[in-house]
C-alpha cells in the first residue's frame, strides 16, 4: 500500500516536471519567434501608419487607423515612373530569367546524367569548378563585352547568359536523374524511344519536383538580385523593384515614409507568397543540396 502511494507520488512529480519543461519550451520558442518576426511586423505596420506616427510611436505594431492610401501614394513612384513599371520589369527579369535557367538546366542535366559521351567527365568537373569563381571576376569583362555589343540599358546582359543554365541547378537535377531507375530508360529504348524521346517521356515527368525547386530558387534569387540590375540598368524606366526601392530611399529627405514602407512591403509579397505555397520545396532544396537560401 505504502509503496504504491510512493510510486504515484513519484510519477506525479515526474509529470509536473515534464509539464513545466513543455511550458518552458513553448515560452522560449515563442519569444524567439517574436524577436525574429518583429522587424517584419514593424515594416508591415509602418506601411499602414500616417507619416508622423511611424517615428512618433516607433515600437508600436498597431496603427491607430490603417492608412491604405500609403500604398496608392507609393505606387505613384518617382520621377513620373510608377511602380507598375518597376514591378513589370522585375517580373520580366525574374520570369524570363527563370524560364531560361530551368529549361537549359534540365537539358544539360540530362546530357550529363544519362547520356554517355566522350569528355563528359571532364566537362562536368570543369562545370563544378566554375562554382568556385567569385562573380566579381566575371563581372568586369562581361560588362566590357556587353558594353561593346551595345547591350547596356537592356535586359539582354541579365537574361542571355541564363540560357546556359545554372550550375547549382544542373548539379541538383543530375543527382535527381541518377536516382531514376535505368530500367525505365531501357524499357523505353526497347519501345523504340531515342535519347530525346527518353528525355521527355521518361525523365522529364520524373524530375518535375527538382525543376519546381530550381524554378522557385531561381525566381526568388532573381527577384532579390541587386548587383546585376545595378550594373546594367541605368535608365530609370528599366529599373527593377530592387533598384527602384534603392533610388526611392536614397534621395535623403523623404517626407512620405508611409509610402516608402508600403512599397518595401509590396516588394516582398511575391517572395512571401512563394514561401507560403512552396515551403516544402524550399526546405527540402536547402536541406538536401545545401542551396543557399
Amino acid at each position: 500500500m505504502e509503496q504504491t502511494l510512493d510510486f504515484s507520488a513519484h510519477k506525479r512529480v515526474q509529470r509536473r516536471a515534464a509539464i513545466s519543461r513543455t511550458v518552458f519550451y513553448y515560452v522560449g520558442v515563442t519569444l524567439l519567434a517574436v524577436v525574429m518576426l518583429y522587424p517584419v511586423a514593424w515594416l508591415v505596420s509602418s506601411s499602414l501608419k500616417p507619416a508622423d506616427e511611424i517615428w512618433g510611436s516607433v515600437t508600436s505594431l498597431i496603427p491607430s487607423a490603417p492608412r491604405f492610401e500609403n500604398y496608392a501614394e507609393g505606387w505613384q513612384g518617382f520621377g513620373g515612373i510608377t511602380f507598375q513599371i518597376f514591378f513589370g520589369n522585375s517580373f520580366l527579369h525574374a520570369g524570363v530569367g527563370t524560364i531560361f535557367t530551368v529549361v537549359s538546366s534540365a537539358l544539360v542535366a540530362y546530357g550529363f546524367g544519362r547520356v554517355k559521351f566522350r569528355g563528359s567527365g571532364i566537362w562536368f568537373s570543369i562545370m563544378l569548378m566554375t562554382l568556385m569563381l567569385p562573380s566579381q571576376i566575371l563581372m568586369i569583362p562581361q560588362y566590357i563585352i556587353f558594353n561593346e555589343l551595345g547591350w547596356i540599358n537592356t535586359f539582354l546582359p541579365l537574361l542571355i547568359p541564363r540560357l546556359g543554365g545554372d550550375v547549382f541547378f544542373i548539379f541538383m537535377i543530375v543527382q535527381f536523374i541518377r536516382g531514376i531507375p535505368i530500367e525505365l530508360d531501357e524499357a523505353a529504348l526497347i519501345d523504340g524511344c531515342g535519347k530525346v524521346g527518353i528525355f521527355h517521356r521518361i525523365i522529364l515527368p520524373q524530375i518535375v519536383p527538382a525543376l519546381v525547386t530550381a524554378a522557385i530558387f531561381s525566381f526568388y534569387w532573381t527577384w532579390e538580385d541587386f548587383l546585376g540590375p545595378l550594373v546594367y540598368l541605368q535608365n530609370p524606366e528599366l529599373y527593377t523593384v530592387a533598384l527602384a526601392l534603392r533610388a526611392y530611399t536614397d534621395v535623403g529627405s523623404i517626407n512620405n515614409w508611409g509610402a516608402v514602407f508600403a512599397m518595401l512591403t509590396l516588394s516582398l509579397v511575391p517572395v512571401i507568397l512563394i514561401f507560403v505555397f512552396f515551403q516544402r520545396y524550399l526546405v527540402e532544396g536547402i536541406a538536401t543540396t545545401g542551396l543557399k537560401g
Binding site: 537539358l107 533598384l243 516582398l268
Partner: protein, 326 residues
Amino acid sequence: MSEPSAVLTGLNPPETSASEPRAKRKSKDFKRNNAVGYLFISPWLIGFFLFAFIPIAISLYLAFTNYHLLRGGEWVGLDNFERMFTSDIRYGRSVIATFKYVLTAVPLRLIFALAVALLLNTKRHGVYWFRAAYYIPSVIGGSVAVAVMWRQLFGGDGRVNEGVINTFIGVLGFERVNWFGNPDTAIWTLILLAIWQFGSPMLIFLAGLRQIPAELYEAASIDGAHGWQKFIGVTLPLLTPIIFFNFIMQMIAGFRVFTQAFVITGGNPLDSTLFYALYLYRRAFNDFQMGYASAMAWVLLLIIAFFTLISFRLSKYWVFYETKEG
C-alpha cells in the same frame, strides 16, 4: 515518335537490327551518343565559353593593365598588385573590414543556427510553424527592401532617437547608440543582419540531426550519459561534417557580401564597412578603373581559395567521418 524531335531520335541506333555485328553496333552507338550528349549540354558549353571562359581570360589580362573603361589602358605588369598592398590605404581598410565581418558574422550565424536546430529537433507539436517563422527572415533577408528597413530600425538618417532598436535600448535603461556614426558599431548592424538570417544553415543542421540514429542515443543512455554528455559525445561529433559544410558555404558567401553594405552603411563611417566586394564595385563602376578592379577580383579569388584550402587541411583534425568501414 511523332514529336518534332523525331529527327534527333533518328540518331539513335535501331535496336532491332540483329543482323548487324554486335561490336560494330556498339561503336556506332557510342559515336551517336557523343552527338546527342554534346547537343544536350550545348547550352551550358556555349554559355561557358562566351560568359565564363573568355571573360576569365580577359579578366586575367586586365589585371596586369591600367585599363580604364573610357580611356583604355596599357600593360603595367604587377603595378596593380603593388598598389593594392603598398599604397592603397582604402584597400587595406576594406580587407580588414571584410575579415572582421567574416570572422564574427559566420561563427555567430552558425552557432545560432545550430542552437535553434537543436531546439527544433523534437517531436513536439507546432515545431513546423516555429521552423517556418525562423526561416522567413532568411527568405526575405537578401532583398533591398529588408536592407532599407534595417537601416531605419537602427536609426539611420539621423534618427538616433527614433530608431526602434534605440528605443528599446532606452527603455532598458541603457544609453542610445549612434549605430551608423561610429566605426565600431556600424559593422554590427550588418553582423546582426547576418545572424538574423540563420535559416539556411539551421535547415541543413536540422536535416543532419534527423540522420543521427536513435540507437546511438540509446546506447549512450545505457552508458549513463545525460543530455549535455549526449550532445558532446554523440551529436556534436556526428554533426561535424555538416558544421564543416555550413562553415565553408557561409565563409565563401561572407567574403562576397555586397548588397547589405551597399544599401545599409554605404561603406561608412571611415570605411569601417567598406567590404571587399563593395570597394571592388566602386573601383570598377564608379571610377571605371577596371584593370585595378580585375586585379582585386583575382586577389579575392586567391583569398577565398586560400581559406577554403586551410579549412580543408584543418578539417581532418576535427571533422568526424564515420562510414570508413561501412
